[in-house]
Amino acid sequence: MSEATVADTRRLNSKPQDLTDAYGPPSNFLEIDVYDPQTIGVGRNRFTTYEVRMKESCVRRRYSDFEWLKNELERDSKIVVPPLPGKALKRQLPFRGDEGIFEESFIEERRAGLEQFINRIAGHPLAQNERCLHMFLQDESIDRNYIPGKVRQ
């Protein structure tokens, strides 16, 4: 006559969680806002800048800065870089009925796309210690002659 044994399924002991860890803000709370688009300059030399704001820093960047960041990451890091919102070359042609790339609805669309782009990159573990990303997010202006590499924590 065979009897089944009762399996021991008790949980393993673990340390109780610290209450500050349990109720504090999570460490992954990195949210980057792309804000406040402003068009600078006159005539054909106009361009739009956006405020890139994190918890501790706030810088102004334009679309070509985002392009620069994308190229740096594609070359140096092992990540698959998410797409940027489009270059909108058609909008830069003359004789358009609207404001082209300075059209309000287009700027808003681009702003949302840039916000999504930068958040996805900043959340990627393999991009988090790239010097180009740190410079993009924290430095006043981007030094295109910087030395690429990793930031050692």
């Binding site: 009762v6 399996a7 008790r10 949980r11 393993l12 349990a22 992954n28 988090q128």
Partner: protein
Amino acid sequence: MSFFSFGQTAEIDIVLNDAETRKKVEHKTEDGKRDKYFLFYDGETVSGKVNVTLKNPGKRLEHQGIKIEFIGQIELYFDRGNHHEFVSLVKDLARPGEMAQSQTFDFEFTHVEKPYESYTGQNVKLRYFLRATISRRLNDICKEMDIVVHTLSTYPELNSSIKMEVGIEDCLHIEFEYNKSKYHLKDVIVGKIYFLLVRIKIKHMEIDIIKRETTGTGPNVYHENDTIAKYEIMDGAPVRGESIPIRLFLAGYEMTPTMRDINKKFSVRYYLNLVLIDEEERRYFKQQEITLWRKGDIVRKSMSHQAAIASQRFEGSASSEKALSQAKEEDD
């Protein structure tokens, strides 16, 4: 098969002596069907009768000998012609001559060694079977009967837990623990995942059981991975200090014992794969091998021992611990 309307042919039937009492188990065939076969263990005797029935009454059956074989063999699917026999026993039932009427022959293979478990896999098959053969000049008459062999083990003396800290620097650090490294097929994997550092947005976490069948040697090694189970253990984003329990019942999954380098031809190994998935669908994983073994069905444990274990399930208390050690003493 006889193509001539004259001449004699016969039907062979193999019947085991203990066919009434011997247990049958289900075993997968190569095409995925499940059939029932008689179950044998290492060292058991295989005995029975071979019934030879003449098809055409009145005619004699000329033959070059009748024999029965007990064979254990490994067949690699990419090399079908070569069967590697690791057990091969033969008993002669009749010397060359003539059979005037249907006959029954007794056979017994005493205390046969059956060192490996029967296994039907993706690229390899290990099987045991009886084969009765009537040798003839032009064509033999053959009958095969497959049996299934299970290899049993007892509780291993050394069964340490698996405990490890892994992670990505500055990003994700976890400590995982599984209560044992060797589990029997109806066991429960009890474990926990403790988060030391969480700087990514985790969506959920799961444990997969992966079976890896390895065939071939040297440069021609081929691994076939099969995910047997996917079991979600956490839904949502954890923070530092959180501990996620694992309780995975193995009896629900179709698995075999771990088979290492069987007759130097193949291996079947099992791995636990801990997988974390973040909000961008990126996957982080850690694979860990576990050893599976087959426990015999008959277990002699006293009822008081079982009751003591059950009472300890809800946060061990001093009194139930005492009862447990007392019951253990009675048992020994």
